[in-house]
């Protein structure tokens, strides 16, 4: 009996690596600590009623952001481990297998479990406030999306200590990711983790499209929408057309592995290259999915801190929407070297170059918005300013990569690594940081400490260039990605050391941000006005943090940048247009709100159980998990009491408390 348990656990848990053992111990300690703190302070009920069951878009957004920052930490540690391994030639700090696992999880976590949730967090917090809505179109589905993402991410992460991480690269090309190449459970964790969270992403995409199209405040025509909302619309459009491709592709891979089909194996008439073709049909739109909202954030910030209307609003809208359309026609540039012939490569090289044009238009729009503006440079604006040159360089190297014949040299070299890190860090990460700093007061009611934020900013930026500029050179010197050792005589060591130093500078920058948040909480200073930055859009017209119903009275919108125009009118002493004034003086009405629900949490945990069962092929667990999912759906279908009204007196009380704090 004892031997059986020992056998099982040596297969079940990852053993034999001191780094992983350390992680297992620290995970166990952290979990015990969390349970202890929640029990000691009697916070379990609070956690359940206020957060886990919440359908409030603002709280869901905050949970997304917390989860993504935890994932940023894990993905960042992965990155530093890799940089440490590469700093010195011919050492085995990480062996090949462990290194493979680490670059795989680094990629998956950073894109799917860091960038995506951070993006969804900002969608959730900002979009309903910007368009004058009280929640998203489907609040229950929104909560379900979050928990599907969360449990999917946890399922993926658990592979690190249980069963073994996937190690076939972040897109898991077969045949390596097939049953013959990866017989272990790691690849199954990959498939199920991404599938479960992918359902959540798709649902979020649908949710926000409907929210934006159907729930805008009266008078807010499409062409009067704030630019961030436009970018969310374009990003979500791309999500709902791209994510099904991912789901189907991974499902085919699952059938190959689980049922022994031959979609992507050479025997039986399959073709592994088909997988590469399909996965990039999702993979390429995916990078635009994460960058488009960052463009929206920059547009908001540039305009707010230049005290000017965004230059070229219409061209910006056109650029966003055309990128989300054209992003579907460039996928083959990820595999120019596959051998599809000159015609295919030429076509996709040209589409890739074309898509750089709308992005260039945007850069000029931001620059012209700043031109002759009344500029100020708090942290959100600094990230925006840093983004522009960084993204332009990243974009230019992207255009170099799009030249198909030259790509045969660049392909899978560190030149490529440097390129996509430059657009993803310099574009996406800088953008979302800018957004976090900009909307932080709206989320929590206090500002983040500016001084520490500037330290973090400079460490991030200097660290970034120190880390990735040498990698362009390394790529041209012939260093390719995804190996853990190289010889002394390659001459790559000096630049690799520099790059590692840069990586650690970014690690320090992250610590500064943690310190900044801790410091700002400790020296909490309430942000009283609700309009921290003298903003332009509707979210700044309500108190910070926003009351749970957002708007006591739904505003009537007449202008683009409505809140700014309203403030200007009042400064000039002009009267509001009659419909605006009427909406503002209308008597309060009871506010219709969705009720909290525990079903999303429970249902998603059953998905986790089902996924875990599929990974280990434990039939009883699959049945239990899927059964739980079905029961959860039934419970929800027969729940009729899903909404309630906030009485007028309570709205009055809340408003008085929030506004009285002036």
């Amino acid at each position: 009996m004892w031997d059986k348990i020992k056998d099982f656990s040596s297969e079940f848990f990852v053993t034999g690596d001191p780094l992983i053992l350390g992680a297992q111990v620290s995970i166990a300690i952290t979990m015990v600590a969390i349970v202890f703190i929640l029990t000691y302070f009697k916070k379990w009920r609070w956690l359940w009623t206020e957060w886990l069951t919440s359908v409030d878009h603002k709280k869901i957004g905050i949970m997304y952001i917390i989860a993504s920052i935890l994932m940023l930490f894990r993905g960042g540690v992965d990155a530093l481990l890799m940089r440490m391994q590469l700093a010195v030639p011919q050492v085995e700090f990480l062996n090949a297998e462990h290194y493979n696992a680490i670059f795989t999880t680094h990629g998956v976590i950073m894109i799917l479990f860091m960038a995506m949730p951070l993006m969804f967090g900002l969608f959730n917090i900002v979009v309903p406030l910007q368009i004058g809505a009280r929640d998203v179109a489907f609040p229950f589905l929104n909560s379900l999306s979050f928990w599907m993402f969360f449990f999917g991410a946890m399922l993926f992460n658990v592979s690190f200590v249980i069963g073994g991480s996937p190690d076939a690269g972040w897109l898991a090309y077969p045949p390596l990711s097939g049953l013959s190449g990866s017989p272990g459970v790691g690849q199954d964790f990959y498939i199920w983790g991404i599938q479960i969270s992918g359902i959540g992403s798709l649902a979020t995409g649908i949710n926000f499209i409907v929210t934006i199209l159907k729930m805008r405040a009266p008078g807010m025509k499409l062409m009067k929408m704030p630019m961030f909302t436009w970018s969310v619309l374009s990003s979500c459009t791309t999500i709902i057309f791209a994510f099904p491709i991912l789901t189907v592709t991974l499902f085919l891979l699952f059938i190959d592995r689980y049922l022994g089909a031959h979609f992507f194996t050479l025997d039986g008439g399959g073709n592994p290259m088909m997988y590469i073709n399909l996965i990039w049909m999702w993979g390429h739109p995916e990078v635009y999915i994460v960058i488009l909202p960052a463009f929206g954030i920059f547009s908001e910030i540039v305009s707010a801190f230049s005290k000017k209307k965004l230059f070229g609003y219409k061209s910006m809208v056109f650029a966003l929407m055309s990128i989300s359309f054209f992003s579907f026609f460039t996928w083959a540039h990820h595999f120019f070297t596959m051998g599809s012939g000159a015609n295919v490569n030429a076509f996709f090289a040209v589409t890739t170059m074309l898509i750089a044009i709308p992005t260039g238009v945007k850069v000029f729009n931001w620059l012209f918005t700043m031109y002759r503006g009344k500029l100020s440079f708090p942290t959100p604006m600094m990230w925006t300013i840093a983004f522009i040159p960084c993204f332009v360089i990243g974009g230019m190297t992207g255009v170099l990569l799009s030249v198909a014949p030259a790509d045969f040299q660049f392909h899978n070299s560190y030149f490529l690594i440097a390129h996509f890190h430059q657009v993803l860090i310099g574009g996406v990460v800088f953008g979302y940081f800018a957004g976090l700093y900009y909307w932080w007061p709206k989320m929590f009611g206090f500002k983040l400490h500016e001084g520490l934020g500037k330290w973090a900013f400079w460490f991030w930026n200097i660290g970034f260039y120190v880390c990735f500029m040498p990698q362009y050179a390394l790529g041209l010197m012939g260093m390719t990605r995804r190996f853990n050792e190289y010889n002394f005589d390659m001459g790559w060591q000096p630049l690799n050391v520099v790059s590692t130093v840069g990586g650690f500078l970014m690690g320090i920058a992250f610590l500064f941000q943690v310190w900044q948040i801790a410091h700002s909480i400790k020296f909490y200073k309430k942000e009283k006005t609700g309009d921290t930055w003298d903003g332009r859009t509707l979210e700044w017209s309500i108190p910070s943090p926003a009351p749970m119903y957002n708007f006591a009275r739904i505003p009537v919108v007449t202008e683009q940048d409505d809140w700014w125009e309203k403030k200007q009118r009042r400064l000039r002493g002009e009267a509001d247009p009659p419909e605006v004034a009427q909406a503002e003086q209308a008597p309060l009405e009871p506010i219709h709100m969705p009720r909290n629900s525990g079903v999303p949490f429970v249902m998603s945990s059953f998905w986790f159980i089902a996924g875990f069962g599929f990974v280990w092929d434990w039939k009883w667990m699959i049945v239990l998990g899927l059964g739980g999912v079905i029961v959860s759906m039934l419970v929800r279908s027969f729940t009729y009491n899903t909404d309630y009204y906030i009485p007028v007196e309570e709205v009055e009380r809340t408003e008085a408390a929030a506004r009285g704090a002036h």
Partner: protein, 113 residues
């Protein structure tokens, strides 16, 4: 707010695009039956060569799709901003890209069996 929206929507005439007439349903029904019978007869009697039959089936399928959309899904009656029509066209473009693009790319990567 829900109340508010409900009022304005009901204020519009013929909300939700209205429904088709008896005549249009009958025409649609007949068309869809005819479009089903044509390929059936062609295949059952082996009237054409294999290639022609394939093309015939595909053409009938596309026409069938159009009939369903026009007569039963009321794609014509949608109110103005025509989100359903726009997303339908976009979806078709993406689908065509996926299928045709994959065929094009994979032609050169076919594995000899």
């Amino acid at each position: 707010m829900a109340n508010h929206n409900a009022h304005t929507e009901h204020g519009d005439h013929g909300h939700e695009g209205g429904h088709g007439s008896m005549k249009s349903y009958v025409i649609g029904f007949l068309l869809s039956i005819v479009l089903t019978i044509i390929p059936l007869v062609a295949v059952m009697n082996g009237m054409f060569s294999k290639q022609v039959t394939t093309v015939l089936i595909l053409v009938m399928a596309i026409l069938q799709f159009a009939v369903q959309l026009l007569f039963f899904m009321h794609i014509r009656d949608e109110k103005k901003p025509r989100y359903n029509l726009i997303s339908l066209i976009f979806g078709l473009v993406i689908m065509l890209t996926i299928v045709a693009g994959s065929i094009w790319i994979m032609t050169y990567n076919a594995v000899a069996t």
